[in-house]
């Protein structure tokens, strides 16, 4: 594995010596339904067969904050700043307890979404660009960002046919809808609001 010195996105974490990091941080970004998680599962197996130690980490999956974020999102009363700060707390927990230890140990870290998701979601909701970038200034710069793109005509059927959608509408029939926040319903952009 080649070694290039890691750097922080902003002010960083003063107690962390990035010169110790031997691993690589690979970020996969892209909208819901584009296939990020499926790709990461396959890439993890493929890299392990090639002899790499691999750790995968996903947005809002920290043990500390994952549940709290689900509860907060269910309330539909977050604003852009509280939303972003919850994301930042989740990311900080995963950075400190998953990403940094793995990089120190020489693992490849596959990140399913990264700080760019927070930037996009906050900016489209009116947050100041400098504020959101400063909030995530403790993040490490990835070695590479792989962005999966899909046009709207292909994306809609993929989301509609997703397992989550089938689960919510096909089996439960509970009247639940797509994720309120990830679908951007809080932005009130539809004609029926």
């Amino acid at each position: 594995m080649s070694s290039e010195k890691k750097i922080f996105f902003g002010r960083g974490l003063p107690y962390v010596d990035v010169s110790e990091f031997k691993g690589k941080l690979i970020v996969i970004e892209g909208t819901d339904g584009v296939g990020r998680t499926t790709q990461i599962e396959d890439l993890k197996k493929w890299l392990e067969v090639k002899g790499y130690g691999v750790v995968s980490t996903g947005w809002t999956r920290s043990p500390l904050m994952g549940r709290a974020i689900d509860v907060a999102k269910a309330g539909h009363n977050l604003n852009v700043h509280t939303f972003s700060l919850l994301y930042a707390a989740d990311f900080a927990d995963r950075l400190e307890h998953e990403i940094i230890p793995a990089l120190k140990a020489g693992f490849v870290v596959l990140a399913d979404r990264y700080i760019y998701t927070a930037f996009a979601r906050a900016t489209v909701r009116g947050a100041e660009r400098d504020w959101i970038r400063s909030t995530f200034g403790f993040a490490l710069e990835p070695d590479v960002v792989l962005y999966m793109k899909v046009n709207i005509e292909n994306l809609i059927p993929r989301v509609i046919n997703s397992q989550l959608f089938q689960y919510r509408y096909g089996e439960l029939g509970s009247g639940e809808s797509m994720d309120y926040w990830e679908a951007g319903m809080d932005l009130r952009l539809g004609e029926d609001f």
Partner: protein, 35 residues
């Protein structure tokens, strides 16, 4: 600034294998320092 690459997921039936191959190529470049 991290390097950034975009991959188009055009056809849902062919997307996985096509994108998967391209992702693997780019990841190998990063891991082996060929990029």
């Amino acid at each position: 600034m991290a390097e950034e690459y975009h991959f188009n997921v055009v056809d849902a039936t062919k997307a996985f294998s096509t994108v998967n191959k391209k992702l693997k190529e780019k990841i190998l470049e990063v891991l082996e320092g060929e990029g």
